[in-house]
């Protein structure tokens, strides 16, 4: 039996098709374990070898990696949700209702998307706390900490824009609270310090730009939808690439 299996395995791994896809053998030898790191784009985020100390779970608590995992999970569940969602104030709420009533696994995917979003916000905060407590922002990693702060802002904006999409009472009023704060921005908001003095009104201030109007409505929903599904994920991905690249170049700050 084993002989037959080895024969089939040997045949498959010798074909042109297999060799064109996988440029390494099964990672059971050191050479293949190194090769898999070179030839796989996801694994290439890692170095081939790592210091023993950096492996300690009690050092990183896996928080950065988990944040990335939650992002991937959110992208996958988010794409699923996008198939069933139209950013139209007359349809959006019914679309979400359909997810819970007529679409197979609709509730599961929506709930998973929501919980992963909560988890991502929390894991970003905890990851930053860990990085601070281990002094990992110190030279040469200063700029990567700044990139991390940008990613924190992206995460919060992604969460906040997603909050509006179900178009229920929770969504509308949570976003209204936020837009009231935008109206009160110094200089840029009509109700903020020196806003009126430099000509800000309800129809040209930063809250108007954010909402696409003077109150949360159709334009807001479309804006938040585009920001949530396209613009912010792209920005986040760009900065994530820089973030991971820098970690790869600088290595872990971990103990020996």
């Amino acid at each position: 039996m084993k002989k037959t299996f080895d024969l089939i395995y040997g045949f498959i791994t010798q074909t042109q098709l297999y060799k064109s896809v996988f440029r390494h053998g099964y990672p059971s030898t050191d050479a293949n374990r190194a090769l898999i790191m070179f030839s796989n784009v996801i694994l290439h985020l890692h170095p081939v070898r790592i210091r023993r100390g950096a492996l300690k779970i009690k050092f990183t608590w896996c928080l950065g990696g988990l944040t990335f995992f939650f992002f991937i999970l959110l992208a996958v569940t988010g794409v699923f949700l996008m198939f069933y969602y139209v950013p139209d104030t007359r349809r959006a709420y019914q679309n979400i209702k359909d997810l819970g009533t007529v679409i197979y696994f609709g509730t599961l995917f929506r709930s998973l998307h929501r919980w992963a979003a909560h988890a991502m916000v929390l894991s970003v905060w905890l990851h930053m706390t860990r990085v601070f407590m281990t002094g990992s922002y110190k030279p040469p990693r200063e700029f990567n900490w700044v990139v991390g702060v940008i990613l924190l802002v992206c995460t919060l904006l992604l969460s906040w824009t997603g909050y509006l999409l179900p178009w229920d009472q929770l969504a509308l009023w949570a976003v209204t609270v936020g837009s009231k704060m935008a109206e009160a921005s110094p200089l840029l908001g009509n109700a903020g310090p020196f806003g009126a003095e430099i000509g800000m009104t309800v129809e040209n201030d930063v809250a108007f730009a954010l909402l696409g109007g003077t109150m949360v409505g159709q334009s807001t929903l479309l804006r938040f939808y585009v920001l949530h599904c396209l613009a912010l994920p792209l920005v986040a991905t760009l900065f994530m690439a820089v973030h991971f690249w820098r970690i790869r170049k600088d290595g872990f700050s971990g103990p020996l």
């Binding site: 694994l43 995992f69 110190k138 030279p139 802002v153 509308l172 609270v177 009160a184 949360v216 020996l256």
Partner: protein, 280 residues
């Protein structure tokens, strides 16, 4: 001549550091292969967290309230939980501060951390004893942030009043008899200051009491900046002029938040400083 010497020195130091790093940290005996050692840990942590998320998603599905309607305002109106700390600050600060300036200062404060704290001690370890001030400042801000969120999520009910978990959440609190006063009003009556404006600058006609509140507000920063400068010289020297001023401004602003909350709760003070354009 001097600069050349320094650069040679720096180069030497760098070379010896690289040599040290190469021999100590990156020796092959200290390293292990990422596959399977790290990849395995990552896989297990991903599977484990996915299991937790699936469990939560099944036990507590995403909520869906009634369809959005501009006609009915829910009471209380709550922002998402991660912004509830800022919403809680609205009790004590005007929206331009609670919702815009303070969060911006938090972001700026986070960004400048590595450029303020340039000391290399405690890199790559959980070392708190050699960086007490840094760890204290960060933990203080973090504790304040989480505390405000916990209050916003679990202790605020109808009309944003304080509700204990055992209180009836559907019963309105009777309006409190506490009247909040501005600091300048307190000072005016306590010190018998004249009520006539001293100056006229367009809409702004400050009285003696108002100018005094300006003095108190600015003195908070001036005194806060001066005391460590005069009496903690080694602390000041560690940062240098620019870093010290940026860091202390952010630190004092952070400390000002619980201070204002304290003044509101203990002395019923609404605003420290009142102008026609903004109130603090």
């Amino acid at each position: 001549m001097e600069s050349v010497e320094t650069s040679v020195k720096t180069k030497d130091a760098l070379a010896s550091r690289i040599k040290k790093a190469a021999t100590q940290n990156l020796g092959p005996e200290d390293t292990v292969l990422v596959w399977p050692n790290l990849v395995y840990i990552e896989l297990v942590s991903m599977v484990f967290s996915l299991a937790i998320l699936l469990f939560l998603a099944i036990v507590s599905p995403a909520p869906l309230e009634e369809m959005a309607s501009a006609d009915t305002t829910p009471n209380p109106t709550k922002a998402p939980w991660y912004f509830l700390g800022l919403q809680e600050l609205l009790v004590f600060f005007d929206p331009w501060l609670a919702g815009v300036v303070l969060p911006s200062l938090i972001i700026v404060g986070l960004v400048v951390i590595p450029y303020i704290d340039t000391s290399p001690t405690g890199k790559g370890t959980y070392n708190f004893s050699d960086r007490k001030f840094a760890v204290f400042s960060f933990s203080f801000g973090l504790a304040l942030w989480y505390l405000l969120i916990v209050i916003g999520v679990w202790f605020r009910g109808l009309d944003w009043s304080w509700y204990w978990p055992w209180d009836n959440p559907y019963l309105h609190r009777s309006a409190t008899a506490v009247t909040l006063v501005d600091l300048e009003v307190l000072l005016q009556s306590a010190l018998h200051l004249p009520e006539t404006p001293l100056l006229t600058m367009g809409r702004y006609e400050p009285t003696a009491a108002n100018l005094l509140t300006w003095g108190i507000f600015l003195a908070y920063y001036v005194v806060g900046l001066t005391i460590p400068f005069l009496f903690l010289r080694h602390f000041y020297r560690r940062f240098g002029f620019i870093r010290y001023n940026i860091m202390m401004f952010l630190f004092l602003s952070m400390m000002g938040v619980p201070l204002k909350i304290f003044l509101r709760l203990m002395a019923n003070i609404k605003y420290i400083l009142v102008t026609p354009w903004f109130k603090i």
